[in-house]
Symmetry: C2
């Protein structure tokens, strides 16, 4: 028999204070917050940076056009972006190695490089998938109109969650699955306003080949992101700049092979990768590169889902900013859509929605005792 | 120190099995499910009945029209509906009193009636509010187009929740508030497809008087429902048929006063309340009456929120049925809207989202021990 947390010993009948469920859960929360508070500031910085870069994107795209058209080949942008990221990774590695203290394992030695290259060979997989995706985007636009492509892209968030569950063994609670579904729905509601009335009912040409293309179009980039997260996190001890160097190196190689392929099929004029570029397009490439580098930080220190939410919030801010500064009217669809997205975001990251670990009370108590020892 | 749920007495060092948080929560869940399982079957019956009645409504409305027009005065429908409900309540009271066993307090005696009438005088409040609301509906249609009225009606669900919080002292968790917001958004997304493009951006004539009318239009019926729930539940021991008799009696009186009012202002031909009615309109009135009676059961044995969800599900089923049988196409808006509504419903009624009672562990343990005693 237990009253007010005081328990009677069944042998000697003396009173003992029993651990209430609340004290256990409090100790456990404390244990968890110790781990997560360190990353919270980083997450905030990542999301803010992402919002700024994504917000700049449409301005740079507008500035890159000459007479309303792009003068350069879109494939060259991908290659130049990879090269920019490689250069950035090398610069950061040099900066980091100068800061190293005596006795630390040198970052720029050949042995470190070879060992890291061997450990991080998995990064070739996402690099290849990203390169394939760059070509898929063009193919999709031949089969579907841009609005439909945008709508189908939204399905990525659910595919990513399923892949995270199977590749990263992430557990999501039912509320979190619903939050992800709401994210997908919220973005779709927002996009509905920009779709012409003709395509609103299910009048898509849904042939078997279209289904297969959609499946590939949605799965390839999702798999790339999740596998990237897996590869970056599985070699957590390797410097992120070294990992980036490999990832973008592979990316540059695969994109270069792509350019070679187009040269073979379309003739040598495709090979002139710097044709039609201006100062504005260089800024666009730098912005693309910065977004890519930021993604690596998301994947290594946060996760693919946060990246998805971040992109959505960035889009929302762009919409709000264009309403405030350019006088665009906010549609009911936009307002309903962003309400859904914000509710989804709150639910996904709410502590209430987190999957409870199924540890027995004793194990948690023990864990907490160990934490206490290391603190003392 | 505690390991695997076994605790050592600090005085005599003998081992005592400590109650783990899980065993406490399990016992508590068992205690709660004992109370709620009784009502689950009733809730299911209420929602099913509501869906059937709401589904029949558009068919009966269609049948009630002669050459596409109503021949009768809409105010007379309200009065006849109240009278039908009064007749039903009297019949049920007679049936119930015949079933009474010897020694039970008689349902039909004058003393029971007078005492119940005195206790349930509060039911005059919702009856008056409902009567006022019947007139407000007409006024709203003078100021706003029907689609806007429909949209504004959605706000009722949030107003109801706020009133439940203050009048009924109901506690909602943050997830439940979000679920209610999602219900509102889901219904709105569904309705967006039927609104013409012109009204999609915020081009409403939002004058101060329109704001005030909206506030009244949304608050009056919400207050009526919540106050009805409060009045019915606060005299829980009074038979629901007796409570209905008072509620509908007051309703008939208020509606009759309304008709008298129109007679004074518009001349005596408004007094002919049976003019233009046919067999079809009688079915329509019976359906209205049945919906009203079912509402009383919702308010007394379930709550206003379940009633709201029930109406929404009924609308969805009507939409799906008209797609299946009448070949209407399902719009993307409809599919997105119902997805949001179903997620909202799951979240609102999910045990995860329920407000946790802040009882200390000892109190729950004690309660469980008492339950155990009564069972043995």
């Amino acid at each position: 028999m237990q009253r007010n947390g005081v328990m009677e010993c069944s042998v000697c009948h003396s009173k003992v204070v029993a651990p209430s469920p609340r004290s256990v859960s409090r100790a456990y929360d404390k244990h968890r917050s110790k781990i997560s508070s360190k990353y919270r500031a980083l997450n905030f910085l990542l999301v803010s940076g992402d919002c700024i870069l994504v917000g700049l994107q449409p301005i740079l795209v507008f500035m890159s056009k000459v007479d309303g058209k792009f003068q350069f080949s879109p494939i060259s942008v991908n290659f130049l972006t990879e090269v920019t990221k490689v250069i950035f990774a090398i610069i950061m590695l040099i900066v980091q190695s100068r800061k190293q203290k005596v006795g630390e394992k040198p970052l720029l030695s050949l042995s470190t490089f070879v060992q890291a290259a061997r450990n991080n060979v998995l990064l070739a997989v996402p690099a290849l998938l990203y390169a394939i995706n760059n070509y898929l985007k063009f193919i999709m636009q031949l089969y579907f109109n841009p609005a439909t492509v945008k709508m189908l892209s939204n399905l990525k968030v659910l595919v990513i969650a399923i892949l995270l569950k199977f590749i990263m063994r992430r557990k999501f609670s039912i509320i979190q699955w619903e939050a992800l579904a709401l994210l997908l729905i919220g973005i779709s509601v927002n996009q509905l306003s920009s779709i012409s009335d003709g395509t609103k009912s299910f009048g898509l040409a849904v042939t078997t080949i279209a289904y297969i293309y959609t499946l590939i179009f949605v799965t390839v980039p999702s798999l790339a992101s999740v596998y990237n997260e897996y590869a970056l996190k599985s070699q957590f001890d390797t410097s992120i700049y070294l990992q980036n160097l490999f990832l973008y190196g592979y990316g540059a190689v695969f994109n270069f092979l792509g350019i070679l392929g187009t040269v073979i099929f379309q003739g040598p004029e495709s090979f002139d990768i710097l044709r039609g570029h201006s100062r504005a397009t260089m800024f666009l490439i730098c912005n693309n590169a910065a977004q890519g580098i930021l993604s690596s930080f998301f994947f290594k220190y946060a996760d693919t889902i946060l990246k998805k939410y971040s992109s959505t919030v960035a889009t929302i801010f762009t919409g709000l900013a264009s309403a405030a500064f350019l006088g665009h009217t906010l549609t009911i669809n936009f307002l309903l859509g962003i309400s859904i997205v914000f509710i989804s975001m709150h639910q996904f990251f709410s502590p209430l929605a987190k999957v409870k670990d199924d540890k027995p009370a004793g194990a948690i108590e023990l864990e907490d005792a160990q934490n206490h020892r290391t603190n003392v």
